[in-house]
């Protein structure tokens, strides 16, 4: 899966990941490989990412929108 986290001012993260956990407005949710196409709003909080090297880390994000399609995850935050 390829993840991109983008704000209007810079690209915050871009790379291969195996798991992403996001603070959705209806509660936290995780995205794994071959997730169904999804569009969701997220709120301010922490994003959990496990990258291609199985290393886990967190990113602080504010409100935004995430789109998942064909194993491409794009998180647009403001």
């Amino acid at each position: 899966m390829f993840l991109e986290v983008i704000s209007p001012e810079k690209t915050i993260y871009s790379g291969e990941v195996v798991l992403v956990q996001l603070p959705g407005v209806m509660g936290s949710f995780e995205i794994l490989k071959n997730h169904a196409p999804l569009m969701a709003l997220i709120e301010e909080g922490k994003m959990k990412i496990i990258d291609g090297n199985r290393k886990m880390f967190h990113l602080d994000v504010n409100d935004g929108i995430v789109e998942v399609k064909d194993n491409q995850i794009r998180v647009l935050i403001s």
Binding site: P8, P37, L38, M39, I65, E67, L76, S78
Partner: protein
């Protein structure tokens, strides 16, 4: 022949002017680079936002109108004009004012009452003198144009549009092309024509609607549309401010580059004059000494 001392002072003064213009050029060049990077990042974000918007228009019908995309029956129009606070940037402000004036005339021909929302001192000076109706003037936003600040401007414009019932909001600004080329343009920013292109396309390909991927939408289609539409507007306003800022720096850099070159040219001419005068003075002195010595024999 020119006075030696006079020429010397002029050379010194032109030299110090050249130092200033060349420093201003450097400053603008670095600000220009910053602006260009910001535009690049924003473009990346805006492209993705547009992708999502397009994707959304495939999955859901967007017939329901958002308040920012709905036309209001009204005789009022608001024009946002982006100029600079400082001069010394060539014809940058002249162009923008000319464009704004002709655009305002065009709107007035459509029987609209035009109010102005001005960013940057230079346009404010001009339009105040010519007694246009200015409802807001902001001179600090350009120097600190980041997304956070431009969101405030966007918020302000949205409130004006919704509460004071403007039929349309337009922006006149310099579109940044590259360091030397920028083009003054006028563009409608509210109500947003956001889904028009999609609607037109949807009517064409309505038959393969079934083939489109259906996204899971969370929390709801309405909430997502309500998030995306204002976001598109925020991004638009930010882009306008960035384009203006970057074009201004580009214009200033070009103008100051020209000024520095002119100063160098002038120094060359003056040095030539100075040397000629100096040589003439030496020759004259020599002639005096020689003829004095001659006379003593």
């Amino acid at each position: 022949m020119a006075n030696l001392r006079e020429v010397r002072t002029r050379i010194a003064s032109v030299k110090s002017t050249r130092q200033i213009t060349s420093a201003m050029k450097m400053v603008s060049a670095s600000k220009l680079r910053k602006g260009q990077n910001a535009i690049e990042s924003l473009r990346y974000y805006a492209d993705h936002l547009k992708d999502i918007k397009n994707e959304l228009s495939k999955t859901v019908s967007l017939k329901q109108g958002h308040e920012l995309t709905t036309m209001i029956e009204s005789k009022k129009a608001l024009v946002v004009i982006c100029s600079s606070n400082k001069g010394l940037c060539g014809p940058y402000n002249t162009y923008i004012i000319k464009k704004a004036k002709s655009y305002i005339n065009w709107l007035e021909e459509q029987k609209l009452e035009v109010s102005l929302y001005i960013i940057g001192k230079k346009a404010n000076d001009f339009f105040k003198k010519h007694q246009y109706e200015i409802i807001h003037f902001d001179q600090n936003i350009l120097e600190k144009a980041n997304f956070e600040n431009s969101k405030e401007v966007a918020e302000h414009l949205k409130t004006l549009f919704l509460e004071q019932e403007f039929a349309r909001v337009d922006a006149v600004y310099n579109k940044f092309k590259n360091a030397v080329v920028h083009e003054p343009i006028a563009k409608k920013i509210l109500p947003i024509d956001i889904f028009n292109e999609e609607k037109a396309r949807d009517e064409q390909n309505s038959f393969d609607e079934e083939e489109h991927l259906k996204h899971i939408l969370e929390p709801s289609q309405e909430k997502i549309v309500n998030y995306i539409v204002p976001k598109v507007f925020d991004v638009e306003v930010y882009r306008i401010l960035l384009d203006s800022y970057t074009s201004e720096q580009g214009a200033r850099m070009t103008a100051m580059h020209q000024a520095t070159e002119n100063a160098s040219e002038l120094i060359k001419d003056l040095t030539l004059t100075y040397n000629k005068a100096r040589q003439a003075a030496i020759t004259r002195e020599l002639v005096e000494i020689v003829s004095g010595a001659e006379a003593l024999k």
